[in-house]
């Protein structure tokens, strides 16, 4: 169908959706009201399991099977994207080209900020059950901290610090740890991903049972996954070149 037909169909559909949405919104409970049934139940359960960060408790204790499913989506997308970005038959990998002219100050800033960001990321992962944070956020911060080296101009330094095989293993290890903790819950208490470790005191580092362990597992997985993804994209851009007609190798 032509562009104009597509636009007309979309506008008709959008009009109907808008009308229904406005009708639905007018019937919803008031924005900022105090009637939240799930909130009362979730906070009560989190305090009972001595986890100070209720969001982490919901993610890794009360609805842990959902998080397990999302982890599976994550690792599958990383594997699929890595497969799609392999160098094809008619392509070779060439040497990393010399970096352009950067200010030495910019590169120094990159070198200094990488360990600082790494510590912030580790802190977010490990204290994810007592302060805002957690495995997902800490893993992203760790991965982007490492790529500060690329952003401030030293791709060769990033390449040395980032053996892709090690990060592949980290990714898989995180996912496997999550599954192993789940199976431990199945073995000890009869259902998958039950909170079987000692619950500890509210607000301390060792509290919440399996929640800190699962935080670390997810942090490893997100860190490994995002680094592998960005590595494949960077390789495609910087080092892969086509070496002639397709079919010749």
């Amino acid at each position: 169908m032509t562009r104009r037909t597509r636009l007309v169909v979309f506008l008709v559909g959008a009009g109907c959706v808008t009308a229904m949405f406005v009708l639905a919104v007018l019937g919803m409970p008031e924005f900022g009201g105090s009637h939240h049934v799930y909130r009362d139940l979730a906070v009560h359960a989190a305090v009972k399991h001595r986890t100070a960060n209720v969001v982490s408790s919901v993610n890794f204790d009360q609805r842990a099977v959902d998080t397990f499913g999302e982890e599976t989506i994550l690792i599958t997308s990383v594997v699929a994207a890595a497969v799609l970005l392999r160098p094809a038959k008619g392509e070779t990998e060439r040497r990393i080209p010399q970096t352009g002219r950067n200010l030495a100050g910019t590169r120094l800033l990159g070198y200094v900020l990488v360990p600082i960001t790494a510590i912030v990321g580790l802190d977010l992962v490990i204290h994810g059950h007592v302060t805002p944070g957690g495995g997902f956020q800490g893993g992203i911060v760790l991965a982007t901290g490492l790529h500060l080296l690329y952003v401030t101009g030293s791709y060769p330094a990033l390449d040395r610090l980032r053996p892709i095989a090690a990060f592949d293993v980290t990714d898989a290890l995180g996912a496997a740890t999550f599954g192993a903790v789940g199976l431990a819950g199945l073995g000890f208490a009869g259902s998958f991903l039950t909170n079987v470790m000692p619950w500890g005191t509210f607000g301390q580092l060792f509290s919440g049972g399996t929640v800190p362990v699962l935080n670390v597992a997810v942090g490893l997985e997100v860190f490994g996954g995002i680094v592998v993804l960005l590595a494949k994209f960077l390789e495609q851009d910087i080092t892969v070149a086509s070496s002639g007609k397709e079919g010749e190798s």
Binding site: Q137, L230, D237
Partner: protein, 93 residues
């Protein structure tokens, strides 16, 4: 409805319009970063620090970087493809 919430939501709507109406994908990478930042402000105002941390890392750093790398790769591939068909045309004639 405090004024802060209304202002943050309006900024998000404006940033979203800018992202969609930007025609060139290179421009969209930067406006997507700004949209991510506006979303972080909305999430903080709605009392959700965990979500704001997630969106900060993902929406302002990881996704715009991948978009820029994808566009550069596509341009490079298209240039190499043109060079190859140029060579073929030169050999034939």
């Amino acid at each position: 409805m405090t004024a802060l919430i209304v202002l943050a939501l309006t900024l998000v709507a404006m940033a979203a319009t800018a992202v969609v109406l930007a025609d060139a994908p290179e421009r969209q990478a930067v406006t997507l970063s700004v949209f991510g930042l506006a979303l972080v402000v909305v999430f903080m105002v709605l009392q959700a620090p965990d979500v704001a941390l997630s969106e900060l890392g993902v929406g302002t750093a990881v996704v715009p970087l991948m978009v820029m790398l994808a566009i550069r790769t596509m341009r490079k591939d298209r240039r190499e493809r043109q060079q190859q068909t140029g060579d073929d045309g030169g050999d034939d004639s």
